[in-house]
Symmetry: C2
Subunit: 413 residues, 2 copies
């Protein structure tokens, strides 16, 4: 009986999860694909390290040994960094292998090249695991996008940041101690820059943008900000106003242009992200026919990510056109636009004493320093340029509803 031969590049959390899942779900995979799925090789860096891998699996630190395996069907890439993974996957595609990646940094940079190369060589590229771990975001978006015109996509895409913000609020921890706990629990790396400075979420956002809008904004125009500026003091002030800080990726079309931002924002109780806590991820899609849909689930971890990889494995082996995703989606011309000059709600902090501006509506005030205001983006920019406030955060969601209930005292000054 013929088999499907898989090689796994990298044996960290994701690589090991994929390996274990292929073993534990061998029966389902064989039932689905009509062939046994066999892990033929694993690429590792340190050959000395003891690993729980069967004896008949080739364990090597030389990618060429893997590439020269006869009849290799699929290469699963679960390394980090752009290189060597990009080069490895290019070579794999050129050799006629399907490839599946969980590497968002590499895929955000080189996804388009890999997809084009794969098309040329009649193989598929699976990348469901690059965005929001086990949540089937890409498949769901692809389906919704058949007919719906997407106007706005929002996501909590970095579990580490969300965990830290949750700990700071719930347990009244400082940023530093919440980060230490995240590191102790294995949610954050020794160098947490990628997570807490928003780079990880940024890469995922760019991939999500291509899926939802068929395109991405210029990377330099995207506001990227991590959670390091969110102090306990700010979190407590927000809580008194019934608001929560979340690190939110947001992509929408404004004036014919794709606009994206990845930064902390505030959400009230009526926002679907209000109760996304800990390492959970969530993606909200607003589109013209169906309205607002939210998906929520584990954003990372050994098995959730492995689940996404295995779903891709089934897809590529069934010859489903995963690599056509970017092209199949709604073209930018179809997507609904949102307006720019509306008055949004903002939390401003470090406000100058006795600041008055007739065009800005003060909705609620926490202390002398912190207040909720209603203003356009331009007005906020003016405020900051004049150094009338130290920092500001947008409050997302259905504002009118949020401020009509009893949660927030409406105290126009």
């Amino acid at each position: 009986m013929s088999v499907i031969k898989v090689a796994i590049l990298g044996f960290g959390t994701v690589g090991e999860g994929v390996y274990k899942t292929i073993q534990s779900h061998a029966e389902e995979l064989e039932g689905l694909l009509g062939k046994k799925v066999v892990v033929a090789a694993v690429l590792i860096r340190n050959k000395q390290k003891k690993r729980n891998i069967d004896n008949d699996v080739l364990i090597t630190s030389d990618f060429n040994e893997i590439l020269s395996l006869p009849q290799l069907d699929v290469i699963v890439e679960a390394i980090v960094d752009k290189e060597p993974p990009y080069t490895f996957l290019k070579q794999a595609i050129q050799k006629g292998c399907h490839v599946i990646t969980a590497n968002k940094e590499m895929f955000a940079h080189h996804g388009n090249e890999l997809l084009m190369l794969a098309e040329k060589h009649h193989v598929s590229v699976g990348y469901e695991a690059t965005v929001a771990g086990g949540i089937p975001v890409i498949q769901t978006l692809r389906q919704l996008l058949n007919v719906n015109r997407v106007s706005h996509v929002q996501g909590i895409l970095n579990g580490t940041s969300n965990f830290i913000l949750t700990e700071m609020r719930e347990k009244k921890q400082s940023f530093a101690s919440a980060l230490s706990l995240a590191q102790a629990k294995g949610f954050a790396e020794a160098d947490p820059t990628n997570d807490v400075e928003g780079y990880d979420a940024f890469y995922k956002t760019m991939i999500l943008s291509r899926i939802a809008f068929g395109d991405e904004p210029n990377w330099e125009d995207v506001e990227r900000e991590g959670i390091t500026s969110i102090s306990s003091e700010l979190i407590e002030a927000a809580e008194r106003l019934n608001l929560r800080f979340k690190h939110i990726a947001s992509i929408s079309k404004v004036g014919g242009q794709l606009k994206a931002a990845v930064k902390p924002a505030l959400v009230g109780k009526s926002h679907p992200f209000y109760s996304i806590e800990g390492v959970e991820n969530a993606v909200n899609v607003q589109s013209d026919i169906v309205g607002s849909i939210t998906l929520q689930g584990p954003g990372a971890g050994m098995f959730p990510t492995a689940s996404a990889v295995i779903e891709d494995l089934v897809f590529v082996c069934q010859d489903q056109p995963t690599n056509k995703n970017f092209k199949l989606t709604t073209t930018p011309a179809f997507s609904k636009e949102i307006q720019e000059d509306v008055k949004e709600f903002w939390l401003i902090h470090g406000l100058s004493k006795n600041y008055r501006n007739p065009s800005i509506v003060f909705v609620s005030k926490d202390t002398e320093e912190t207040a909720i205001i209603q203003a356009t983006r331009e007005e906020i920019d003016t405020l900051m340029n004049q150094q009338k406030a130290r920092c500001y955060f947008q409050i997302l969601g259905e504002h009118e509803r949020a401020y009509k209930n009893d949660d927030v005292t409406i105290a126009v000054l």
Copy 2:
């Protein structure tokens, strides 16, 4: 250029939504399918009623006129009741038409027969609109189920009930006045029995069960209870204990048997359904690899339901095997089982004064009459048989987490 000819049976909220969406999204549909989608006929009951339908569309109250249209490709059924829709769709399939239905009652009763008949006649059956409106539950489950072993599916499947429970809690309304408001807003029928007695949710649950577990329990063994027994007093007591009533469908495998219930239950802040409010629907799937995934969105309404129908339209016209859903899913043998004799958390009301039972743990107490206890299902049954309490509701979710935080005072009596 050839066209895709569609007939719509019924021109109520869903039928009209489908008609309007086909008109407004003609360009996307043509781009996707390579053919223009044309509504050729609409079946209505009352020919006198004025409707906003183009002049070139056949409007008839005689199904035979529709059936005898040449080259009809797809019939969309958006009527209510089991008959005549079942007979109509059987005839349509026999004539070689793809069929798409939004009718849960009919599909819960006759889905299997329609799917088998469709297979015989090489056409497809789309039924995404039967469960949770616009939320792409069926497609998502189908994808997750490729490899994941589902252990438990829960859902808030009736928007009307959820709206009433939300109004009762948020605005401190009685059941009667919340129901009136739901009727005024068009969320509930003049006769609300189907919604508030749990029949609508029951039909959806049976469809969901077949998708998730490949089978359904005996209908007579399913506990079906509506929300009419939930008094304002109970809702307030629950709120004081940081719990919310939701009308929840639950399907799982216990001791090799599929077990389902559709009834009110309580959820704490850590449960993904805690903040599902108003007419929203949600579905939570727990499976072995990916863990817990929740989908949330509009459960009903003209356009959300139309969106699901249109997604099915794209699927059936692209010759995707929608009718294979039931067979492709994980067979019962693969699904993970859950244990029965664990101590669950329950809210009991109308407790006998000074009731003591050493095996039951009192976790928290609201008034003399209402308390949270920890007990097995058997113990609760005994309690009720001995008439020691008036009613009880299960508290779903991650109990340990829920009761370790400060939300609930742990007050073992």
